[in-house]
């Protein structure tokens, strides 16, 4: 796919949006897991 492709912007924006959403999900998941582990350690 070249940047002269009329559909390049659609394909790249789809992949970009997906990477952002799934990246945020991964980041939020790992962050929540770390916080939960600390909370449990404090209680124990």
């Amino acid at each position: 796919m070249s940047f002269n492709d009329p559909y390049a912007v659609y394909v790249l924006s789809s992949y970009g949006a997906t990477a952002l959403i799934l990246g945020w999900l991964l980041f939020a998941t790992l962050g929540a897991n770390t916080r939960a582990r600390r909370a449990l350690e404090e209680e124990e």
Binding site: M1, P6, Y10, Y15, A39, E43
Partner: protein, 202 residues
């Protein structure tokens, strides 16, 4: 990205490699939540409720991906970002059920009550997960039928089918990894909450 263009869709066919797995996972995650909720309601098993709770943000994220990539794919191919087509509308309502389910869990402090009410909300929304999957078979809609179907045989060339399978495997592995981490998080939080309550009797 090395996949060839199609003569009708050009390079937009590459959106299929994220749109289809994301849509499949959006529906299957809801089905998983519904099964976990039923098990939780019948067997009163806390981990079932927590698995459903852990799956909800993942399912919501995949639904959002499916909606966004579908809109971006629809614009050049259908000439519109959105239509109130049966499948699209069902997926949008399913997305709202994901949000409502998560909001309900957050809104109720008492875990026993939150898990029961959110499980009921989840079960009410099952109809939209079902329609998201089968709407294209019930009604003649703008959205095309299933590209991958056991009943109708092979409808997509191997040039596109194999990378699609590869992407589906990748998405499913990502989903399983996230679900395991999130389920462990929820179990830890529930345990910490139980310990806190034991220390400070009401």
């Amino acid at each position: 990205m090395a996949c060839p263009k199609t003569y009708q869709q050009g390079s937009t066919v590459k959106i299929m490699f994220i749109h289809v797995p994301a849509a499949m996972l959006a529906i299957n995650t809801y089905a998983l939540m519904a099964v976990a909720s039923i098990i939780g309601l019948i067997r009163r098993h806390h981990v079932s409720f927590l698995v459903a709770k852990a799956a909800a943000p993942i399912g919501a994220a995949f639904t959002l991906v499916a909606l966004i990539t579908g809109a971006v794919w629809g614009q050049p191919m259908w000439g519109t970002w959105w239509v109130w087509d049966a499948r699209l509308t069902a997926v949008l309502i399913m997305f709202f059920f994901y949000l409502g389910y998560m909001a309900l869990w957050s809104a109720i402090d008492e875990p026993e009550k939150a898990q029961d009410l959110s499980a009921v909300v989840c079960l009410v929304g099952v109809i939209f997960a079902f329609l998201s999957r089968y709407a294209v078979q019930f009604w003649a809609t703008l959205h095309q039928g299933s590209s991958l179907s056991i009943e109708s045989g092979q409808r997509i060339d191997d040039t596109f089918r194999m990378p699609l399978y590869l992407c589906m495997i990748g998405f499913y592995l990502f989903f399983i990894a996230l679900l395991l981490v999130r389920a462990r998080t929820e179990i830890r939080l529930r345990r910490a909450q139980a310990l806190r309550r034991r220390e400070v009797p009401a």
